[in-house]
């Protein structure tokens, strides 16, 4: 079947199988920040934005994304650059595998709630698993970024 969608701002037309997952679709188009992790919709590694909302691409048919806007970290470098340094400064990204998913969901969080409390950050990022850290590094990094914004 043929689908048309927008991937990172560019119009894409493609022939796909009915059961092609959005995860495989975007990776085949060079968006390798989107990782195949648990494949049971638990880890958040495959997070992409569909019409601005974070979803799990491992459980979404590419056919369902037809007519919509899909964004991966490859298309959000500038927005991510604002805060990823703060996360790195905390040593939060150890092996780094979960990082793109964390960054994608943090972008969604900050768009929805620009001044979240620590509990709101924890709740929003609960669907992103990290097996290296205890999540404190990521939390400290996001907090440091938010504090730096307030200080101007």
């Amino acid at each position: 079947m043929e689908i048309k969608l927008t991937l990172n701002g560019k119009a894409v037309t493609a022939h796909i199988e009915a059961d092609t997952l959005l995860l495989d679709f975007v990776r085949a188009r060079g968006c390798l920040s989107v990782k195949r992790g648990c494949e049971t919709e638990n880890c958040g590694l495959c997070t992409v934005l569909l019409d601005g909302k974070p979803i799990l691409s491992c459980a979404t048919l590419a056919a369902r994304a037809a007519g919509h806007h899909v964004q991966t970290l490859e298309g959000l470098q500038e927005e991510a650059a604002d805060f990823v340094g703060f996360i790195a400064d905390q040593g939060a990204e150890q092996c780094g595998f979960c990082n793109p998913g964390f960054v994608m969901n943090t972008i969604a969080l900050l768009r929805e709630n620009p001044d979240p409390t620590d509990d709101e950050i924890r709740a929003y990022l609960a669907g992103n698993l990290c097996r290296c850290s205890g999540y404190e590094g990521q939390l400290r990094g996001i907090r440091a970024y938010l504090d730096s914004k307030k200080e101007g």
């Binding site: 199988e17 919709e41 569909l50 799990l56 048919l61 056919a63």
Partner: protein, 264 residues
């Protein structure tokens, strides 16, 4: 592994219904559970173009379209006011925001899972299910329908009756499938507990006069014991039936006491 031969965006409920009658065709919800199955699907039927992704408010109820995401359901201001935050409380433990942006209210209800947070809170709110052919049914009537009856869930109807509700669940780890779900609600002068646990769908238990003299530590404990004794529990990899029974007694007691607190 899941395979799908054909994908169709239904243009009408009639088309979706006709396609759904074939055994190896399936109506897509959020795909959370379908994606975990080893299954060869003939046609995947998508309801995404049928305008079922809206929550409408009438004078008497809220009408939640089958394709409304769990995230939209948890964030709806009117529903949060109506349930005094219990809807958001019931959904916050379901995996993560990304999962809840895809998972649909219709898919969660149609699956009739015994552990469903969504079914438990909807039963406490006395919600009804509107099916394309079978019409409007109570959640209990819907749960009793044979699974061979392949209808299309159109919307959930939640009456606009403000009630005190307390929702609690027990999970082995945060964001996991619950071992047990529990809602305690006051309605029409009586207190009810809704308890959901595998393998049976959630069921509702009236206090039966146990709380007639008010909610105290003792009467709440008695209510918990009564519900735990009446409910049917099963065992699976997450928990044994005996553990679920003990947890049910505790959660019902805690929820009843919290309800009293809520009502001042």
């Amino acid at each position: 592994m899941l395979t799908i031969r054909e994908y169709v965006r239904a243009k009408s409920l009639e088309e979706a219904y006709a396609l759904a009658q074939k055994r190896n065709n399936v109506v897509l919800g959020g795909m959370g559970w379908l994606n975990l199955q080893k299954r060869n699907v003939g046609t995947a039927i998508d309801l995404c173009d049928l305008g079922l992704d809206a929550i409408e408010e009438t004078e008497t109820d809220y009408r939640v379209g089958a394709m409304v995401s769990l995230r939209a359901f948890e964030q709806h201001q009117g529903l949060q006011t109506l349930s005094q935050g219990a809807i958001a409380e019931s959904l916050k433990g379901i995996v993560g925001v990304q999962f809840r942006n895809s998972a649909t209210v219709g898919g969660s209800v149609y699956a009739r899972f015994g552990f469903s947070d969504v079914t438990t809170i909807l039963m406490a709110l006395e919600a009804k299910v509107e099916l394309y052919k079978a019409g409007v049914l109570t959640m209990e009537e819907f749960a009793a329908l044979p699974r061979t009856q392949r209808d299309i869930l159109v919307r959930i109807i939640i009456p606009k009756v403000r009630r005190s509700i307390c929702y609690l669940s027990q999970r082995n780890t945060k964001t996991d499938i619950p071992v047990l779900t529990c809602a305690v609600v006051h309605r029409e002068g009586e207190t009810f507990a809704v308890v959901g646990a595998c393998p049976r769908p959630a069921a509702i238990y009236p206090d039966g006069g146990v709380l007639a003299e008010g909610i105290t530590e003792e009467t709440a404990r008695a209510f918990g014991g009564k519900v735990a004794a009446e409910a049917v529990f099963g065992s699976n990899s997450r928990s044994g039936a005996d553990y679920r029974r003990k947890v049910a007694a505790v959660l019902v007691r805690r929820a009843a006491l919290a309800l009293k607190e809520q009502e001042g």
